[in-house]
Amino acid sequence: MTPSSSLAEPRRFFTQLIVGSSSEQKNLLRLLAILLAVAVIGAAISGGVLLRPQNLSNILQQNAVLLVVVTAQFLVIVTGGFDLSVGAAVALASVVFVSSLDHGVGLAILAALVSGLLLGLVNGVLVTFVRLPSFVVTLGTMQIGYSLAKVWTGGGTIDAAPGGATIPRQLNSFYSTNLIGLPLPVWVALMVLVLVAIYLRTSTGCFVFAVGGNSRAARLAGISTSRVRLVAYATASLAASVAGLLFSLRVGYGDPQAGVMLPLDSIAAVSIGGVSLTGGRGSLIAGFMGVLIIAMLDNLMNLLGVNVTLQPVVKGVIVILTVFAYGLRRD
């Protein structure tokens, strides 16, 4: 090995940790350009408000839940599937967490995570071993998940466990506490992002891309495609249940109807990030940037006082336009 390449090795290792292949790097540069364009134009028409540190911090804080869910969605999309049950995982985790607070915060968190893991395992088993299309499976578990969450609370929201325990004071302020300039929930979201990014560099993570790209070839390369899929779905729902915790900490109660729009919002963010919806390629950081672009536009429209009912129109147009632009590049 030449000295120059060994010098380049560690750097390359870290860029590869999040970035991946060269075509993905080009995609990231493009996303960065879009992001900068939105930021600069946004700053100009909002009189600089958009880029104020406090505003940027707010944007991230408001989108911490979405960010975690996008990370989960990315994992499933890369295998060539969709996870429509991410919102249900959020709702389940949210009500399980709040209603288990009686038994202590640690146990409540654990119970919430287990609820997500179970949902993910059901998804994974049905997709992998029963060989049903993920779209249909997760559509079903989404409805089942929401229904279970409602049964759990008896229908409405839940702001205290049956024994009377409520979200403790220190957790109440969790959402507004800053650590090194960023709110805690943002740190949690980034942590999930980094964990999943590292996961994608493990052997199973590498195989996730193989299964999504060509599951026949992956199988004939000796990859246990069923294990890879199962783990991907389970991990995705587990991550979504972390988003459920964040949700409850933000609003201060458990909501069995939380995150109804999350499945679609997360798929939209992933597509804006240029991640192929047919699986097998894309980088997590692109999904992250997809969230940032949507979040900035949302924020900008709020700053400019765009009618709230009209905002989704703008978002919809942007999703279609970006996917159209990516489609133009396809051969």
């Binding site: 292949s21 052997s203 000796g222």
Partner: protein, 505 residues
């Protein structure tokens, strides 16, 4: 245009065609006469496909003439050929799967009613009329994807007949047919002959040729080896003409003396294509597996590799009976496979050389999921460099590589895996000559290291030059085994065309 006396619907004169440095067709001339079934014969790679692609306008010849009803043409397009009465039914039918038979047959030429609306009743009537004239009945109410392959073929033929075709080229139409389906097709071909259509028929089944053919042209190494009426041929002459007496063979590998047994397959069956296959592969031995397409070679390989489950039979590896339930298990047992269709089964086209070449390494070197990527990268780079993969940059997407380089990436995957048995299914198909010799060198190195190799190939010179021993499959069984001086192209072909397995020599 009506052909006058002495003019044939389609003639090819002095056709030459080369792809790069490889001369595929050399001075080929051929007349396809009205009301005759003309069989094109030849080994895989003899130039049959190129010839029919030229006849149907898909390729243009480097020199020579395509003469349509007495009119020489210097350039043709597939569209033009179709419009002028040359119909080609390739093995891959160009039907639209979700449309029904009538919709497919009159696609783009739908009868119109008032306001330009498609007249469905009229379309159905016309489609029925054509099928009736062919004396076949096909279910026209269902999307063609729900029909059997034979019915689909009938629709494809009927579609051409709606074009007033005068030449019908059938490229291995019976390859996937059952006996009754073949019968139905033959009846149809006889009808076409009665309608004075010139039929060009390609098949590897000799008995079919003798049943349906009027005239035969045998191609060998891109030239016409012989041509004549069916009466001038018999089974032996046909094999001799296809293979040729004086084929220059590459140097044969010096046969290994004794090989400790590694793999023994006993009476393996899948209940369909593979019917009681038994053979063995020794350590460091290269066993060639020859046979026609559809003889069950690939299916046998997939059974050994655990890609499909056998109905009955035994696989003994290293003295132990094994039954890999999937390729994951097979790899654990030390079996590797380079599949036949590398784009569909061999590669993940959305990923890089590093990943595609490294899946087995990733699996082998990772501890608790943690992958030493630097080491994987180094080893994959070393191996792909050793195989002269160009470009050798590990991050390049495999989709961007040429066929030969893609194949080398798949091969490199198994170099590191520590397999004791490697199955290679058509490893040099679509691979240029340079890359071929590199692949052969790797196969030999692996054998010298004691790895048993099962080399499946339709390329006879390849099988003969690379194998220590050859097993020949025919119709799902082992038709015979050849080694040493007895292993000639004629002997392999004779076994491959054998239909009765009980007459094993």
């Amino acid at each position: 245009m009506i052909a006058s006396e002495g003019e044939h619907p389609l003639s090819l004169q002095g056709i030459h065609k080369a792809f790069g440095a490889i001369q595929v067709l050399r001075d080929v001339s051929c007349d396809f006469r009205a009301g005759e079934v003309h069989c094109l014969m030849g080994e895989n790679g003899a130039g049959k496909s190129t010839l029919i692609r030229i006849a149907s306008g898909a390729y243009s010849p480097d020199s020579g003439n395509v003469i349509l009803a007495g009119r020489p043409l210097d350039s043709m397009t597939p569209r033009w050929a179709r419009d002028n009465g040359i119909a080609t039914i390739y093995q891959e039918l160009d039907l639209i799967p979700n449309l029904d038979g009538a919709e497919n047959m009159l696609l783009g030429r739908e009868p119109r009613g008032r306001l330009g609306r498609i007249d469905r009743a009229e379309r159905l009537r016309r489609a029925r009329a054509v099928l009736n004239s062919m004396h076949v009945s096909v279910d026209l109410d269902r999307p063609v994807q729900e029909l059997g392959i034979a019915q689909q073929q009938m629709i494809a033929i009927a579609k051409s007949l709606t074009d007033e075709c005068r030449v019908m080229i059938l490229d291995e139409p019976t390859a996937v047919f059952t006996r009754t389906e073949t019968r139905a097709l033959f009846n149809l071909v006889k009808k076409l002959r009665e309608q004075r259509i010139a039929v060009v028929f390609i098949s590897h089944h000799m008995e079919e040729i003798f049943e349906i053919g009027d005239r035969i042209t045998v191609l060998r190494d891109g030239s016409v080896a012989s041509t004549g009426t069916i009466a001038e041929y018999n089974h032996d002459r046909l094999v001799r003409d296809m293979v040729g007496r004086d084929v220059k063979r590459p140097v044969r590998r010096s046969a290994q003396t004794t090989n400790a047994p590694l793999l023994e397959v006993r009476d393996l069956s899948d209940g369909e294509t593979v019917q009681g296959v038994s053979f063995s592969v020794g350590r460091g031995e290269i066993v060639g597996m020859a046979g026609l397409i559809g003889s069950g070679r690939t299916e046998t390989a997939r059974l050994i590799f655990g890609a499909t489950r056998p109905r009955s039979g035994q696989i003994v590896l290293d003295g132990k009976t094994v039954s890999p339930s999937d390729p994951f298990q097979a790899v654990k047992l030390g079996i590797g496979m380079v599949p036949e269709d590398r784009k569909r089964d061999g590669l993940v086209l959305t990923r890089s050389i590093l990943e595609n070449g490294g899946y087995t390494l990733v699996r082998k070197l990772s501890h608790a999921g943690w992958v030493p990527w630097r080491r994987v990268r180094r080893e994959v780079t070393d191996r792909t460099r050793g195989l002269a993969v160009r470009p050798a940059t590990p991050k390049t997407l495999v989709a961007r590589l040429s066929g030969g380089n893609q194949q080398k990436v798949v091969l490199s995957r198994w170099l590191a895996a520590g397999v004791s048995l490697l199955i290679l299914d058509e490893p040099t198909r679509g691979v240029d000559i340079g890359a071929r010799s590199e692949i052969y060198a790797v196969i030999r190195t692996l054998a010298e290291r004691g790895i048993g190799i099962l080399l499946i190939s339709s390329d006879l010179p390849e099988i003969l030059s690379q194998s220590d021993r050859i097993v020949v499959m025919a119709k799902g069984r082992i038709a015979g085994e050849l080694a040493g001086e007895g292993a000639t192209e004629e002997a392999v072909m004779a076994l491959a065309f054998r239909t009765r397995p009980e007459s094993i020599a």
